[in-house]
């Protein structure tokens, strides 16, 4: 039997809890099973409505928008951090096709804050809807990126540290690590959500800008904090470029300089017990970002699986807006002395 470490030992435990094999519960009865089991199903509309309300409340606090110059990457990181004092609120969706299972729509909201010019912190809320199954809130992530060097260098490193508290039903595929494979997502939500993961993830972000191009490589290592779990490894790499390097003098929406195109490549590299490409999944994803003068950024990225262990298609899109002066709003709220 192929061992799958996608979400560490908890995944293995939940599998072993039902006999160690996936798919013992027929797909057709999954929703019924979850209802009988007394598991609360989040209503999709209510979930989205609450999310929108939360976002709107936060948005209403701001009066200053900031023009964003966002890269098209959704999985890969470059070395550019959030401007200090700015808050960026982002929504992303991933539609995934599922071999031998139901397709899904996973989504997350991201709050990205530039605490200083060398430290950016982000908070994620994840959810997913599996078609013909259910909608779930699947957990949260807290991510921090630190820039250790003062100036630009030939290659610019950024240290990335993330804590994840997510259920095994999480399907946003924000990164691929270890032996993550598409079949991990084939089980019914009622089964997947029983497993819970506490993970630490580390990335070394290496990035360079050269003649308008950005090159970024992110090797990653993940450790499930439950005992007896191996370190898992993965990678992401990206290359991108604005469609025009010079800005036009007029404020414009459809200028070429507002569009940045790129391509990402990401996948798993096994774990400490079986390092390599065996039983791993890999994706290539063209990506496009459109930075609007109004402060909004729209991203689109269809990702294609490169082997039989991958989802055939991961179609991602996102909407984000950056707000300046968040730190001043906090100062106003709490009366911090200057």
């Amino acid at each position: 039997m192929v061992q799958k470490y996608m979400t560490g030992s908890l995944r293995s435990e939940s599998h072993s809890g039902r006999g160690g094999a996936s798919g013992l519960i027929p797909r057709a009865v999954a929703p019924e099973t979850s209802r009988r089991g007394g598991i609360r199903l989040f209503h999709p509309v209510a979930f989205l409505a609450r999310g929108c309300c939360l976002v709107l409340v936060v948005l209403s606090l701001f009066k200053c928008k900031a023009f964003a110059q966002e890269s098209p990457y959704i999985v890969t990181y470059d070395h550019h951090l959030e401007e200090p004092g700015n808050l960026e609120i982002e929504y992303f969706s991933t539609f995934g096709t599922q071999r031998a299972g139901n397709d899904f729509h996973a989504y997350w909201v991201e709050f990205e804050y530039g605490a200083t010019a060398w430290w950016t912190t982000e908070f994620y809320l994840d959810g997913q809807t599996t078609f013909h199954d259910s909608t779930l809130f699947t957990g949260f992530r807290w991510e921090n990126r630190f820039r250790p060097l003062r100036t630009e260098h030939f290659i610019n490193p950024v240290i990335y540290v993330e804590y994840e508290n997510i259920s095994e039903a999480d399907k946003i595929v924000k990164e691929v690590e270890g032996h993550d494979v598409a079949s991990d997502h084939a089980d019914p939500n009622a089964l997947l959500r029983q497993g819970h993961n506490h993970e630490l993830e580390f990335k070394l972000i290496l990035s360079k800008d050269f003649k308008g191009w950005n090159f970024a490589v992110n090797p990653l290592a993940t450790k499930n904090l439950s005992p007896n779990n191996p370190w898992e490894f993965g990678y992401a790499a990206g290359i991108s470029r604005p469609l025009a390097l010079k800005a036009s003098a007029q404020r414009c929406t459809f200028c070429r300089e507002n569009f940045i195109a790129g391509v990402e490549l990401y996948g798993g590299l096994g774990d400490t017990q079986s390092f390599g490409l065996h039983e791993t999944s890999h994706y290539v994803a063209p990506a496009l970002a459109w930075n609007l003068p109004s402060g909004w950024t729209v991203r689109l990225s269809p990702g294609f699986g490169l082997n039989g262990n991958s989802h055939r298609l991961l179609l991602r899109w996102g909407l984000s807006r950056e707000f300046s002066g968040f730190s001043e709003i906090l100062r106003g709220l709490f009366g911090v002395r200057l």
């Binding site: 010019a117 809130f137 390097l245 010079k246 003098a249 709490f334």
Partner: protein, 138 residues
């Protein structure tokens, strides 16, 4: 969901309140432009502006400045609470290469981010705009 929503707000508020005083403290004690300019490597100091003769560069630079820089340095680089004036005597005497280096690298420890995310021609357009401001009194 409630727990998650409360968590996100609490964390952001905690981080924000802890970061704000430090950030503002830094911005009150701007590193003097002369100290920043002194750090510019010699080869960057001597860089020539490839868009110096581009008649539209300054107006495009103005647009970029308003989008990315004006919040901290004021609409015409006169300085504001979070960033120093870029029309000071030191900056008036800075070479285009020095200004370009500062835009590219920022003054990270003092709160100014690196703007290397902007393509090189756009950074030179900003330099053009700032050079144009030299003629204006601070």
């Amino acid at each position: 969901m409630k727990v998650a929503a409360v968590s996100v707000i609490a964390i952001l508020l905690a981080l924000g309140t802890s970061a704000v005083p430090a950030e503002e403290e830094r911005s009150r004690n701007f590193e003097s432009p002369s100290a920043v300019l002194a750090r510019v490597p010699e080869k960057d100091r001597a860089k020539r502006n490839p868009l110096a003769s581009d008649p539209e560069a300054a107006s495009a630079g103005r647009k970029l400045f308003e989008q990315h820089c004006a919040e901290c340095h004021g609409g015409t680089a006169e300085g504001a609470r979070r960033g120093p004036s870029l029309r000071s005597a030191d900056m008036r005497h800075a070479t285009p290469g020095e200004v370009f280096w500062i835009v590219t690298n920022g003054v990270v420890r003092c709160g100014m981010p690196a703007w290397s995310k902007l393509p090189e021609p756009q950074r030179w357009q900003i330099v053009n705009f700032l050079q144009e401001q030299k003629g204006n009194t601070p």
